[in-house]
């Protein structure tokens, strides 16, 4: 293994695209999401957290599938790191969104107490009628205690 690959063994995953898919902001989803948030389920404007939910549900693969890309499983204890949602236009009730996404960063870090861990960043985009509606960025922290 080259020095670069040893320092960041998953760097070649950067740019890898998710299969993608679609997500419908059905009224029942909007209602239930608002209710789980103890917000008003009768407000017809979709809750902004649905941007992230649409992205994850429509990315075309499961969490376990994503973990496998980084030789990890749920048992390794991957954690959310950071999140960003940018809404270029409001979500629309009843709209169907095309979802696409990709890995955008992989960084190997070593902490004194935590040991080695990888921080994987990915983006998910929502499009509707050809318009870019939202982008969600998330990072996942993969502990690499045994490495």
């Amino acid at each position: 293994m080259s020095d670069a690959a040893e320092l960041n063994p998953y760097a070649d995953r950067i740019g890898r695209a998710f299969p993608g898919g679609t997500y419908d902001l059905a009224s029942w989803r909007c209602w239930l999401v608002a209710d789980t948030l103890v917000d008003d389920p009768y407000d017809e404007t979709p809750h902004p957290v649905l941007a992230w939910m649409a992205g994850v549900a429509g990315m075309g693969m499961t969490w376990d599938d994503l973990f496998v890309w980084f030789d990890a499983t749920a048992n390794d204890g991957p954690m959310f790191g950071e999140h960003r949602t940018t809404l270029h236009r409001p979500l629309e009730p009843g709209a169907s969104y095309d979802v696409s996404g990709r890995i955008v960063s992989v960084d190997r870090k070593v902490g004194r107490r935590a040991g080695a861990f990888d921080i994987v960043g990915y983006e998910l985009d929502l499009h509707h009628d050809g318009e870019h509606v939202a982008r969600c960025y998330n990072s996942i922290v993969f502990p690499r205690r045994s490495r």
């Binding site: 789980t36 979709p46 939910m53 994850v56 549900a57 999140h83 960003r84």
Partner: protein
């Protein structure tokens, strides 16, 4: 104070709620999230964890977004939202979402307030912190 009178340093009305494990079960189904730490107390005990289920990240984010939306006059007012996950929220926790305005800017979309935001467990630690941009006025 009306939104037109908002100045840097203004505090957003806090949102407090007690995390309900029944709502976490619904969210687990909506997310198709099979992780039992969100709904199965027996599985939590087997893992050696606190037997109170762990709240989902999207719910914690959503509480902050709800606070921002109520203050700004609608769910369509949140235009940018950035947070770092710092700790867990457990079923039964009382959480408080807070925010303070740190900058104001007139943009093509309207007047935007940038806010520092925090979700904390009352009597505990910070679960999420970050910043958000919220529309508080129409474009001129």
């Amino acid at each position: 104070m009306t939104l037109a009178q908002v100045q840097v340093g203004a505090e957003i009305p806090a949102l407090e709620l007690t995390v309900d494990p029944e709502r976490m079960k619904v969210m687990a189904a909506l997310l198709a999230d099979p992780n039992p730490i969100h709904f199965d107390r027996r599985a939590l005990a087997a893992l050696g964890m606190d037997e109170r289920p762990v709240n989902q990240g999207p719910l914690n984010m959503g509480y902050l977004q709800t606070m921002l939306a109520r203050w700004a006059g609608g769910r369509d007012r949140v235009v940018d939202f950035r947070v770092r996950f710092q700790g867990n929220v457990l079923a039964g926790d009382l959480v408080r979402a807070r925010g303070v305005v740190t900058a104001l800017q007139d943009t093509e979309r309207g007047r935007v307030a940038t806010c520092d935001i925090t979700l904390e467990v009352v009597g505990g630690s910070v679960a999420l912190s970050g910043t958000a941009d919220v529309l508080i006025g129409e474009a001129a």
